[in-house]
């Protein structure tokens, strides 16, 4: 499996790998989080962040800050870094980097379509979209009435087009359909990304397949939990699971028939040693904490990706870690803004 990456990787990827590792060194540290958690106001947070790499992005914000501004500016930094890397990248790294954003694209499509369904203003929706998942004709999504139109009008131009083959129906869009569409798209996306990474081979394939398998399994568990008690049939549910990952195929069979979160899902997952530790941390009835547990596990795996050199997994890992950091900042700022400082630690996933 291992080729001679070390010999040739740096010709094209060396510069960007150095860049991304440099960026990674700019992630907030434990001391930063410690200080941030002690902040009394959003201005304190701004002041603290101004000493970090976020400084230049926040320095020109007038004083009554909002959480959204902080998050927006921090995301802007991530987007700037991403764009810089994308500009410098050559094939196949540029394709790899583009793959990273497809997930956001799917989320944005779903956001706009759901928004239009509930007759929200398109501009307002566009502001809520993740800037990484933007594409040219995204605003036109509002025109579409059903899946077929959605595909024919807008998505055919986007990289998401091939993922759509599974969910073209003439059905009108409703919440359920959209959610199924999201998961079908995501499934197709993950499988495609997985295949792409396998094609790249070497350490990239090894590390990315691990990360993507985790992602796929997490989605499978989430789909199961969210679909319990809805009208989604078992077969439909089974169809939404990605066709790779640790749970594939036997775990999926078992998950597909689950009807209870605490007992059944847990029982299924505990058969798989890597997930055993996640579930063993949760006591019964604490399934809300599952998200955090998964995030923690993900962060751990992402950090491990940096332990090896000469592979593209670091780019994926860095983007994910930064996103997690921004989520953390959002949570901390929300807690500070709403005077709920006791709950700060509930949802913050530390990255070390």
């Amino acid at each position: 499996m291992y080729g001679f990456e070390a010999m040739t990787f740096n010709i094209h990827g060396g510069y960007l790998e150095a860049i991304v590792r440099g960026h990674r060194a700019g992630l907030l540290t434990a001391a930063d989080y410690n200080n941030l958690c002690q902040c009394e106001t959003l201005d304190d947070i701004k002041m603290h962040l101004s000493a970090t790499e976020y400084g230049p992005y926040l320095q020109n914000e007038p004083s009554p800050l909002h959480t959204t501004t902080i998050v927006e500016k921090c995301t802007l930094k991530l987007v700037d870094e991403y764009k810089h890397m994308l500009c410098q990248a050559t094939e196949p790294l540029s394709t790899f980097l583009e793959y990273i954003t497809y997930g956001h694209m799917i989320d944005n499509v779903v956001l706009i379509v759901t928004g239009t369904l509930h007759e929200r203003d398109v501009q307002e929706l566009l502001e809520k979209c993740h800037p990484l998942g933007m594409f040219d004709s995204i605003a036109t999504l509002a025109v579409a009435q059903n899946m077929r139109e959605l595909y024919r009008l807008v998505l055919v131009d986007t990289p998401l087009a091939p993922y759509f083959s599974e969910c073209i129906t003439s059905e009108d869009l409703d919440d359920m359909n959209i959610e199924i569409m999201r998961n079908t798209l995501y499934k197709a996306y993950l499988e495609d990304f997985y295949k792409f990474c396998q094609k790249l081979g070497g350490a990239t394939a090894e590390i990315m397949s691990d990360l993507l398998a985790f992602e796929a399994d997490r989605r499978a568990v989430n789909i199961t939990i969210n679909s319990i008690g809805t009208e989604l049939t078992r077969d439909d549910r089974r169809k939404l699971y990605s066709n790779f990952g640790l749970l594939y195929p036997y775990g999926h069979e078992e998950l597909a028939v689950c009807e209870d979160i605490d007992q059944v899902v847990r029982a299924v997952m505990e058969k798989y040693p890597p997930y055993q530790s996640i579930f063993s941390k949760l006591s019964y009835g604490e399934s809300q904490m599952l998200d955090k547990a998964f995030y923690e596990e993900e962060v751990k795996r992402l950090c491990l990706a940096f332990e090896q050199q000469f592979h593209y997994g670091v780019f994926f890992a860095y983007m994910r870690l930064r996103e997690q950091e921004i989520r953390n900042l959002m949570w901390i700022s929300e807690c500070v803004a709403q005077n709920q400082k006791s709950r700060v630690h509930d949802s913050v996933v530390f990255i070390f």
Binding site: E40, A139, T140, A142, V143, V154
Partner: protein
């Protein structure tokens, strides 16, 4: 030896040689005079505060609110600056001298200005938007009107071409109008249309989207708008395209409108009727001119406000920055128990104590404080910071040296010698008095404009040149000197110091290239004889000269370095370093390369034909062999053997004794400790500035030994490789000649 040491001790002290003597001082400042005291001290710039609150995060410190306010003010100032540069105004370059306003006052002023500016901006933005809309409407009317007129006349033809219909003209018109009469009687062509304007960059995608959404049942006409329209968001001028979409059906209309909205295309209704069109155009034009005057007035008003801000901007900026620095410094201070005083600690050079005290007194006096500021010297445990006093001449040299590493406290400062050696070694390479004069003129221009240039903001390259202007000056002077020695003026030799010592054998000088010249009088008095230029043996001669000169210079400079280490060891009373480091190093370097230098000088003086390469190489390979033709002086062979042995002995000498003696000293001291401190041994480690008095670090023999080993190997290899490096002086000097 004794006398020698006495002589060295009695040398006059050199100011630049050692960094300033520093002392740790404590300040106890009453709260009411703290701000003023710190700002006075800041202006003096001779006290370095220690951060006493290092463990506190920035927002837990005492003056965090003031720091925040300063940050907020500088944000506002940046906003003003941004606005001023966007409006194309220049903020006044020469800062006006005006009295310092109070910070609170400034804060209020800034807030007012900001408020005013934001309001004006929002007003003008609103106006600008209406103006843009009208302008776009006007353009659409003009362009789309054109389409409509032509489409009214030629719609039929176009339609036919487009759909490749086989209908006859009349027939098609009839069916179309029949259809139309059912749907919308007023329209003659049977089609409805939407006209509007869109960014040029989006036009193509827009058209494609329309085509898809209507399944091709539409006609898209477009024309460039001709003039650029300001984008209200980015305030940039954007090229736009006017479009008219013809379509039929109500469903298509909603779709198209939605797409227009999604693409940010502004739609404007254009009446079909030409007379109506004209009327609307007139109205739009009149409103446009009205708006234009309002906008202009608004912009004039805004510019006036901005100019008045811009007048003070530089002053305010520096003031806010100063305030922020003061509060940042105050944050390093601690409150004492009574909360009435601030306690600060810092390092200051001893000579500055009077100045600092004077500044503190001034601060007490100016702030009408009853209690004076207490300023006293403290005992320091850790090593003081290195502080060199420089002036504008030595500053550049000190910076060059600092780039390689800052000397420890009171260590001898190589910058003293760098003042001469750095420009001189440059000149050895550059050596050309023509170029030297050019460089001199450049340096003189920089120095003559010193006072003006130092206040300006220069580009990064100019800044570097300006900073090194005195380096350039000396470089150019030495270049002229070396150029005279090399006898090169833009690579052309001149007979400045009399005629050449050589002449041709015959009058025609035909054999100058073949048989060479003959010497007919005393050597050329200064530098290289101009006759060498262009002769067959010019290159070998100059190479040999410059190479040997480089080695002489190099060995001299390396010796200087080692001698400096002797002065250091003396200064810190570290006889261990002298005996087991300085002495063997001197022996090693001079028995090999010092000997080489000696040979070079002897060869020059005697004019011997000996091959020095051969001598040096066989000194190592077979020291006992007879030198033969290469013997330069009597007794050379035994001398070489002695020197070689000395060099061989010097290596273990500098490697082994020091770590073992250190170990012995340490164990002795440790034993002594159990019985209480007795008299200190001769080699007292405490004098070493880095060793802290309170805690003696664990003595790790292997670490010390490895360190010493690295040090020795580095020295031995360095002696060889540095000598080779000095050949660069030779290598670069022909490059600069040839490069011309």
């Amino acid at each position: 030896m004794e006398r020698m040491e006495k002589f060295i001790d009695n040398l006059p002290p050199m100011d630049l040689m050692r960094s300033e003597k520093m002392t740790l001082v404590q300040l106890i400042i009453p709260v009411e005079s703290a701000h003023r005291a710190i700002s006075y001290l800041g202006e003096l710039g001779l006290l370095q505060f220690r951060d006493l609150n290092a463990e506190k995060s920035p927002f837990q410190r005492t003056f965090v609110n003031q720091v925040k306010r300063c940050g907020e003010m500088s944000r506002k100032l940046r906003f003003f600056k941004d606005q001023i540069s966007k409006a194309g105004l220049l903020s006044s370059l020469h800062p006006v001298v005006e009295p310092d306003v109070e910070l609170e006052e400034l804060e209020i002023q800034l807030a007012e200005h900001e408020h005013e500016l934001i309001e004006m901006n929002s007003n003008s933005e609103k106006l600008r938007q209406t103006y843009n809309e009208l302008l776009e409407f006007k353009i659409v009317l003009q362009k789309a009107g054109g389409f409509l007129v032509s489409s009214n006349n030629h719609a039929v033809d176009e339609e036919r071409e487009l759909s490749e219909n086989v209908y006859s003209n009349d027939g098609y018109v009839e069916t179309a109008s029949l259809l139309e009469q059912e749907m919308r009687p007023a329209d003659q062509s049977g089609l409805r249309f939407i006209s509007g304007i869109i960014c040029k960059s989006k036009a193509l995608r827009f058209e494609r989207m329309l085509f898809r959404a209507t399944r091709g049942n539409m006609l898209f006409n477009h024309a460039p708008a001709g003039e650029e329209i300001m984008d209200p968001v980015s305030a940039e001028m954007v090229e736009k395209t006017v479009f008219v979409v013809f379509f039929s059906g109500e469903q298509a209309k909603t779709k198209i409108l939605k797409i227009c909205e999604a693409f940010g295309a502004n739609c404007y209704p254009v009446p079909d009727d030409i007379s109506k069109q004209r009327q609307i155009t007139r109205e739009v034009l009149s409103r446009l001119s009205e708006l234009e005057t309002t906008l202009d007035a608004g912009i004039r008003h805004r510019n006036k406000a901005l100019t008045s801000v811009g007048y003070h901007l530089t002053h305010w900026m520096s003031m806010v920055r100063r305030e922020k620095a003061v509060y940042d410094t105050l944050n390093m201070l601690n409150f004492d128990v009574t909360k009435k005083c601030l306690v600060g600690e810092g390092w200051c050079p001893i000579f500055a104590k009077a100045q600092i005290q004077e500044a503190l007194q001034r601060a007490t006096f100016d702030s009408n404080s009853q209690v004076g500021i207490i300023f006293h010297v403290m005992d320091a445990v850790e090593s003081p910071p290195t502080y060199f006093r420089t002036n504008r001449f030595t500053n550049a040299y000190q910076e060059i040296v600092d780039a390689y590493g800052v000397a420890r406290y009171q260590e001898s400062n190589p910058a003293v010698y760098t003042v001469i050696t750095f420009p001189f070694l440059f000149a050895v390479m550059f050596g050309d008095w023509g170029h030297g004069i050019c460089l001199l003129l450049g340096a003189l221009v920089l120095i003559a404009r010193e006072s003006r240039l130092s206040t300006q903001k220069l580009g990064s390259f100019m800044e570097m040149l300006f900073g090194g202007r005195y380096v350039l000056l000396l470089m150019s002077l030495f270049s002229i000197y070396c150029g005279l020695i090399y006898n090169e003026f833009f690579s052309v030799p001149f007979h400045i110091f009399g005629g050449s010592a050589y002449k041709c054998r015959d009058a025609t000088c035909r054999d100058a290239q073949s048989a060479g010249l003959i010497k007919f009088r005393d050597p050329y008095p200064f530098g290289v004889d101009p006759s060498w230029r262009g002769s067959r043996s010019e290159l070998p001669f100059l190479n040999s000269l410059k190479m040997k000169m480089s080695i002489l210079l190099g060995v001299a400079q390396m010796n200087l370095g080692i001698i400096l280490s002797y002065f250091n060891a003396r200064f810190f009373r570290n006889s261990l370093d002298i005996r087991y480091q300085f002495v063997p190093q001197m022996i090693f370097l001079n028995s090999l390369f010092g000997y080489l230098s000696l040979l070079i000088i002897i060869k020059w003086c005697t004019g011997s034909q000996a091959d020095l390469y051969h001598v040096m190489i066989y000194m190592f390979l077979s020291p006992t062999d007879d030198l033969g033709d290469n013997e330069l002086f009597w007794g050379q062979r035994p001398l070489q053997i002695v020197l070689l042995l000395l060099a061989l002995v010097a290596v273990p000498w500098m490697l082994f004794p020091k770590p073992f003696i250190l170990k012995k000293l340490h164990s002795e001291r440790f034993q002594g400790r159990t019985y209480g401190m007795l008299g200190t041994s001769e080699f007292d480690l405490d004098v070493e500035p880095d060793s802290a008095r309170q805690h003696h670090e664990e003595f790790n023999f292997s670490e010390v030994f490895v360190h010493q080993m690295i040090h020795s190997i580095e020295f031995v290899l360095g002696a060889v490789s540095n000598t080779a490096s000095y050949l660069r002086l030779w290598a670069l000097s022909p490059t600069t000649c040839l490069g011309v």
